[in-house]
Symmetry: C2
């Protein structure tokens, strides 16, 4: 299925040096994907040439004059920078010129701009950020990861519904299981927010598993894990920190002595297979769910390999019709309630 994706080429720590080669690589592998590269024309053209590409039918350039800085206030970025690469990429989705957009820029600004330009889907009060993590059973989706620092039970229910539709349409999984993150599996555990959400989820037509705990994310107990943005962000960042520490320790142990360096050489293919399997770059690309448009956020420090996965996520979501599925589901719920 032919899909066109707008790419904010100036966002992230490395800008065009990462975004342009990533788009070229995906374009070469996926003949039905086309791209609008948004940003400084000269910089994008130079980078295209460096990687043996050029503008054409499947790769066009949209020149913009401004850049949203990584530490800029979301409100300032939204109000003052009408010609930023981020804003124009989102505009292209709103205007129907692109089916999705991808940015590695400032998360707060991307959320504020997307919400302002695209608006919310009917029945959804707040957008949420969802990502995929590896698990012992395959893949676990988790949301929210920081769009909402405090949520009502209704918000958590909506997150569950949106992500359930995301998983069923993108992963082709019928009625994915949904778990609610809590600090114990017993009914009496948790705060009022979580208890209220559990009640709503139980009464909904979600395939609700019940409460899950932090370790269930990586055990793969459920397909979807729902939590508020504060808790989700802490869980994700804590995981990043632990993984980095373990990787550092492993490296240190394998370079401690001549023997350990030799052992490291022998074990290299195995260690590489392991690293490959848990490579966080393969999970790059968080979905901003609830908006009237597909918006994918890449990690700011992503390299071209990682950014390619964020682009593929945008293509997958556009092709799977995630927005239509969420809209239909919300309409059905609204109709039943009326």
């Amino acid at each position: 299925m032919e899909v066109k994706v707008a790419i904010d080429c100036m966002g992230g720590d490395h800008g065009v040096h990462v975004t342009v080669p990533a788009a070229l690589t995906v374009a070469r592998a996926d003949r039905d994907a086309s791209f609008i590269l948004v940003g400084r024309q000269d910089a994008i053209e130079r980078e295209l040439k460096r990687h043996g590409g050029e503008p054409g039918a499947r790769i066009s350039i949209r020149h913009t004059s401004e850049i949203v800085e990584m530490d800029e206030s979301p409100v300032a970025a939204m109000r003052a920078k009408k010609d930023s690469s981020m804003r124009v990429a989102v505009n292209l989705v709103e205007q129907g010129e692109a089916a999705a957009c991808v940015s590695a820029g400032n998360t707060g600004a991307l959320m504020a701009i997307s919400r302002f330009v695209l608006g919310m889907l009917p029945g959804i009060d707040r957008p949420a950020i969802a990502t995929v993590l590896p698990s012992l059973k395959g893949r676990t989706y988790i949301l929210d990861l920081g769009a909402n620092v405090s949520c009502t039970p209704e918000h958590l229910l909506q997150f569950g519904i949106m992500c359930s539709e995301l998983v069923s349409s993108v992963e082709g999984k019928h009625r994915p299981t949904v778990g609610l993150l809590n600090i114990g599996a017993e009914d009496i555990k948790g705060n009022d927010q979580v208890k209220g959400a559990a009640e709503l989820m139980r009464a909904s037509d979600l395939n609700f598993h019940g409460y899950v705990e932090g370790d269930d994310i990586y055990k793969g107990t459920t397909d979807v894990v729902v939590c508020d943005g504060f808790v989700g962000n802490v869980a994700l960042k804590t995981s990043e920190g632990l993984a980095q520490m373990l990787a550092t320790y492993l490296r240190q142990e394998f370079s401690r002595s001549l023997f350990s360096r030799l052992a490291g050489l022998v074990a290299l293919p195995v260690i590489n297979a392991f690293k490959n399997r848990v490579d966080h770059r393969r999970y790059n690309g968080a979905s901003l769910l609830g908006l009237r448009g597909v918006v994918v956020k890449s990690h700011g420090s992503a390299d071209a390999f990682a950014f390619g996965f964020a682009i593929r996520r945008a293509l997958d979501e556009a092709r799977a019709g995630v927005l239509a599925h969420i809209t239909e589901r919300m309409a059905a719920i609204h109709k039943n309630a009326a």
Copy 2:
């Protein structure tokens, strides 16, 4: 310094098979430590004998007839089981017969019983659970891990003060740095609870670093990380789940083929050094802070090696006079405020 510790021998998944040999091992290594083993006399005596030990001046037995089950309601355990090994171990601390107690039993019951029997230290509204985690720089203390699902800014300030005193007295670290767990380092980030706590911590005499994020726990950015019990519990359990998944993957890769099994043999000493360094059993033993007595909670599934670390933590805290330090600090704060 001579210290006597009461041990709930019946608690945890393995009861006397873990608690008794662990106590024996610590008693043999630490000649100034003595123990009151609390639980079924015949079971404890049998286990002592099995490991070449016997009751004596440094190891006494206190027979009890009841056991708090792992899934029992805390309130029921507290009210109905006056002669449980857990209750009697805590009673021994209250009566001054032991300087500390250790249990691997039901966390909720241990918290409820300890709070009821021992009461709170002056100036502390709520108890908190603190533990140590490894970091790239050494060790990070984090609290609360689940005693309080919702906290006011004042509670978080008290947690910071208690843990600061714990680290300075047990680790001998002058004015340990304290970080407040948030989802961004900028002042505008976070919910009202966290913003309020930051204001209080900034105005206090804590060595307040400011906001930290999830990854800072393992980076070792601060000595202490403060959060509410819901967030802390999720961070800890998520870490456990990730570590288990990575360990499983590593094992799978090293047993995938004949070559990888051989590589695993060669790399075994290095892998073992790595495992040893991040062995969670070395970090077993969470402190129930804020009570008028030293109470240490071991992981329910701890083996004797892990349980030994929980016992050592109880000895360390009793010897360091943590309670006196917290009490003095709170009195000084109260005096300044008056």
